[in-house]
């Protein structure tokens, strides 16, 4: 991983190979490491052939949903006479996730090259990299990289001397988790409030500025130059023999109560148990793991048994009751009040709800209130039923899945750690005193 630790011998560093190397952030340093050879190659190919290679490689979106990237690109029809756009999702706000930040601050040119190849492949002359407003270091690094790339003729009207136009710009966010949702992001780029849009129409039909648009995560795009240079079969060396649906390497951010937090890159199918205890050093001295959330705070909580039985790929995590999500591994140990942390997660979603949908606006607020009441010692057993009922009403009924995401830790928490809730309810610190008028 290179930063903040040296890579562990069991890591497979493709994207993270040059993390922590100051020189790699510059154009010269990047070229020395093989930078922009993939773009040169891609610009000499037909866009459709690039899409085919990416499709064959099995690369799937690393932003959370895991949609096959090549298939997403194939929805775009270059030459339809309309302006096309690529939006790179660098909003990275999913609690537990901080991998795109490392890609941008250590290897900005890897992202720029991936964006340029992606733009050309989908027939877009313009790409916006939407970076969350708080990531000032990333914004500086990517803007400096863009400046170098334009000055060197890599980008612009005559990209790498091929006569093709590739423009890439940074669009700075201004503080809103929801702008990571792709249609909210498009609104934000257009200078609007970041409210998600109702789909359909899907972005490939009517996206940013009502034109065909593709949205891809930073890590997804950063993987593309490697695939173009080395081919689809090369990428397929990283998969479980029995699961061809998850291919390649994946960056995981690890945080919470664990010895060695940080970013780690491992191939699809890596055993999660080895990952947690060997690579990340296991629990803090004298503590035990209690619960693991492996894919950012929006995915179901795992028990330690489920986590230890998981194989790290899209299907492997589903088989153990959760999802790969964004790859943000959150570790919670036995010294924590788990219900308090679930309440804190709910507060996060209540704060970030864009408030368009009633179920989400009201549901996130009520969920937070009830959970905080339980944590304060004023909960009742009916509260758990109420929470599950609210969660039911928040799932699958709204414009975007933020609402579902708020319900997820609550439902999985009550299902798998009901005893923790009940202990707080039984322990009632004090009885609520009715207000006297």
């Amino acid at each position: 991983m290179g930063y903040p630790h040296r890579p562990h011998e069991r890591e497979t560093t493709v994207l993270s190979k040059h993390f922590g190397e100051k020189e790699a952030t510059t154009l010269d340093g990047w070229k020395k490491r093989g930078g922009y050879t993939a773009l040169q190659k891609a610009l000499g190919m037909a866009p459709g052939d690039i899409v085919t290679i990416v499709k064959d490689s099995g690369l799937r979106g690393r932003g959370g949903a895991g949609f096959p990237t090549g298939i997403k690109w194939s929805f775009m029809k270059p030459g339809d006479g309309k302006p096309h756009y690529l939006c790179c999702n660098a909003d990275e706000s999913e609690p537990g996730t901080f991998k795109d930040r490392e890609i941008m601050r250590w290897t900005p040119h890897a992202l720029i090259e991936g964006c340029a190849i992606g733009s050309y492949a989908i027939g877009a002359e313009t790409c916006y990299i939407y970076i969350r407003g708080e990531f000032t270091e990333c914004i500086k690094a990517v803007e400096a990289g863009l400046k170098e790339a334009y000055a060197a003729g890599i980008l612009g009207k005559n990209a790498m001397g091929t006569g093709k136009t590739v423009n890439i710009y940074v669009h700075r966010g201004a503080g809103a988790y929801i702008c990571g949702e792709e249609t909210a992001m498009m609104n934000s780029i257009e200078g609007r409030r970041g409210n998600p849009r109702i789909k359909p129409p899907f972005p490939a039909v009517s996206g940013v500025f009502a034109q065909p648009t593709t949205i891809n995560n930073v890590e997804t795009l950063a993987a593309v130059p490697h695939i173009i240079n080395n081919g689809a079969d090369w990428y397929k060396q990283w998969m479980r023999p029995d699961n061809p649906k998850s291919i390649g390497t994946k960056l995981y951010s690890v945080c919470g109560n664990i010895q060695k937090p940080g970013n780690y890159e491992v191939p699809m199918g890596f055993p999660f148990k080895d990952f947690l205890y060997d690579l990340c050093g296991g629990p803090l001295p004298g503590r035990k793991f209690k619960a693991i959330i492996p894919g950012g705070i929006s995915v179901p909580i795992q028990t330690v048994d489920e986590a230890e039985a998981s194989l790290m790929d899209y299907e492997g995590f589903v088989a153990q009751g959760t999802m790969l999500g964004s790859g943000g591994v959150i570790v919670i140990d036995d010294a924590q009040n788990l219900v308090k942390q679930i309440a804190r997660a709910a507060r996060f979603f209540a704060h970030e709800s864009c408030a368009q949908c009633t179920q989400c606006r009201e549901g996130t607020a009520w969920t937070t209130k009830i959970l905080e009441r339980i944590v304060a010692g004023d909960g009742t057993h009916e509260d758990l039923d109420t929470l599950l009922e609210i969660a039911e009403n928040m799932t699958g009924k709204t414009i975007c899945v933020l609402s579902d995401s708020c319900a997820t830790p609550v439902v999985s928490g009550i299902k798998k750690f009901r005893g923790d809730f009940e202990a707080l309810i039984k322990k009632k610190k004090h009885f609520p005193v009715p207000a006297v008028a």
Partner: protein, 170 residues
């Protein structure tokens, strides 16, 4: 910087003809097919010049981008990073979302309140130097507790290092 109400100082426009900011805005406008798309960048420029986005600032942006002030205000209020009031010289944001919370982020918040003399979250210290707020995930959860002071990140802050962090501010 003008006071919020009463004793208003005269607003100094940011996008006057031939100014550096006007040039910067023109450059930004060339990147998008609509004028409205320059709204977020224009608001950032206002905040960088004045420290916050006042009603006058919103009115100026509205005029330059041919939007209504009400529309601009609707956008400003959606995003948490635009300050709608003046803030302390050092605007301190401490992440307390679950991943940082399990690593003790709340104690870091308390330490900042104590050492800055801020009475409460969101209030500016009597000397005008500090404002402390809790913030949702800063995208640096492996470096608990990360904080932001104005535009700079500081990682791995603990209650013990808070005095040093403050002493290091200009």
């Amino acid at each position: 910087m003008s006071a919020r109400d009463g004793g208003r100082e005269r607003y100094v426009p940011v996008f006057t003809a031939d100014s550096a900011r006007r040039k910067e805005l023109d450059d930004v406008l060339s990147r998008y097919p609509t004028k409205m798309a320059a709204l977020l960048p224009a608001l950032w420029m206002i905040q960088h010049e004045h420290g916050w986005v006042s009603e006058d600032g919103m009115a100026e942006v509205a005029q330059v981008l041919e939007l209504t002030p009400a529309y601009v205000k609707g956008v400003v209020t959606f995003y948490t990073m635009y300050h709608q009031h003046p803030v302390g010289t050092h605007f301190i944001q401490v992440c307390t979302t679950s991943p940082c919370n399990v690593c003790g982020a709340e104690a870091v918040v308390d330490a900042f309140l104590k050492h800055t003399g801020c009475q409460e979250l969101g209030q500016t210290s009597p000397d005008g130097k500090y404002t402390v707020i809790e913030v949702e995930c800063l995208g640096a959860c492996g470096f608990a507790t990360p904080i932001m002071i104005n535009e700079d990140f500081i990682e791995s802050v603990t209650p013990e290092t808070v005095p040093d962090v403050l002493a290091g501010l200009k």
